[in-house]
Subunit: 210 residues, 2 copies
């Protein structure tokens, strides 16, 4: 058996995109404008879903690493924009912990509120702050599935010392979602229980051998 | 800016480990015995945390791809065993969807119940069944943090057509966790709100500009 490897790369257009962008983004609105532009470019270039994110240094406001959804192109269902941005920032800084002693605090800015997976990933990443654009409802309104998130999910982060700011440039961010849906592009992972034409046999069960 | 990339690879000892292992694992106990052996080897080799997982074909019972926790070595906080196993299986099969039409159904076998991130990742992966060994409580008892999971988390998977079986070879799996803790190895990501010596300033807030 040859061992596989998982390799997540950013679309090649990002290099030119970054060279044209400002290097620092002082306000939340500045950071979100950059992230929304990234999500729009990702759908225009047809390199992935309408989601983007980026990690910034909270002290210098410099971009540390961008991320876009590369699920289909990377053949990796976990390659959501937030997972990619956090992982890229960790590669840039050479540590799995963006909150490690000696580092500046970092903020994750996401074009849409995180799904259940990305929400769960945030406390492990070491970021100190999350800023979101479009809401989970905006994503669900175009058929995307947010997963089983706790209703008071921002408070679950706050309880872990992570500040949360929602709905920054929400309408601009949501417009990218709507434009993606209107283009007829792939709404993947929209499969829900009971709607799956591939499922056969008895309904699934939960068994516990404790 | 040179674009970073995220590259997750399995420890090199896995190749020999796999060549010595049986290629098919008919029962849940067989599959879990393989996965527990993998987690024990990962701590013996000091290549990561005490967690492992694997994706199997539910029809042929063949191993599709193994995964171990490679968070520290890969400098990627998302590189939990389940994320790695699912991503590796997706590379092997050439699709982000392990439940795609034409594929056999797949099962994810995990040495410990998934944390909040990995739980959230499961519905996006296309697997049809989850089998766990040690419980979340077993992980927490050695200081690991499971994240903000819904209390009835197995039912959230079941509602999406994913069968869940818990506590298969639980004691054997939990013993690996205890042995890891007893070795004095790193319990990372154990940071919780209020316990962080790096936090400064006012408590975090949730703000919503909706």
């Amino acid at each position: 058996m040859t061992l596989p490897e998982i390799r997540l790369t950013l679309p090649t257009w990002i290099e030119k995109f970054l060279s044209e962008a400002d290097a620092t983004y002082p306000s939340d609105e500045d950071k979100m404008a950059f992230v929304i532009a990234l999500s729009r470019r990702n759908i225009d270039e047809e390199t992935g879903g309408p989601f983007s994110a980026a990690v910034f240094d909270q002290t210098t406001h410099r971009l540390v690493a961008p991320g876009v959804n590369v699920v289909v192109g990377s053949q990796c269902s976990a390659a959501h924009a937030e997972i990619v941005a956090l992982g890229m920032a960790q590669q840039v800084l050479g540590t799995h912990d963006l909150g490690a002693p000696g580092l500046s605090p970092h903020v994750l800015v996401s074009s849409t509120e995180p799904c259940a997976m990305c929400l769960g990933a945030i406390p492990w990443s070491g970021i100190r702050r999350l800023v979101c654009g479009a809401t989970g409802e905006d994503a669900e309104s175009i058929g995307m599935d947010e997963g089983a998130k706790p209703p008071a999910w921002p408070e679950t982060l706050q309880a872990r010392g992570i500040e949360v700011t929602l709905s920054v440039r929400r309408e601009e961010a949501a417009q990218v979602l709507r434009d993606y849906a209107a283009s007829g592009a792939l709404i993947y992972n929209g499969r829900l229980g009971g709607e799956d034409e591939n499922s056969e046999g008895p309904p699934p069960t939960v068994s516990d051998r404790k």
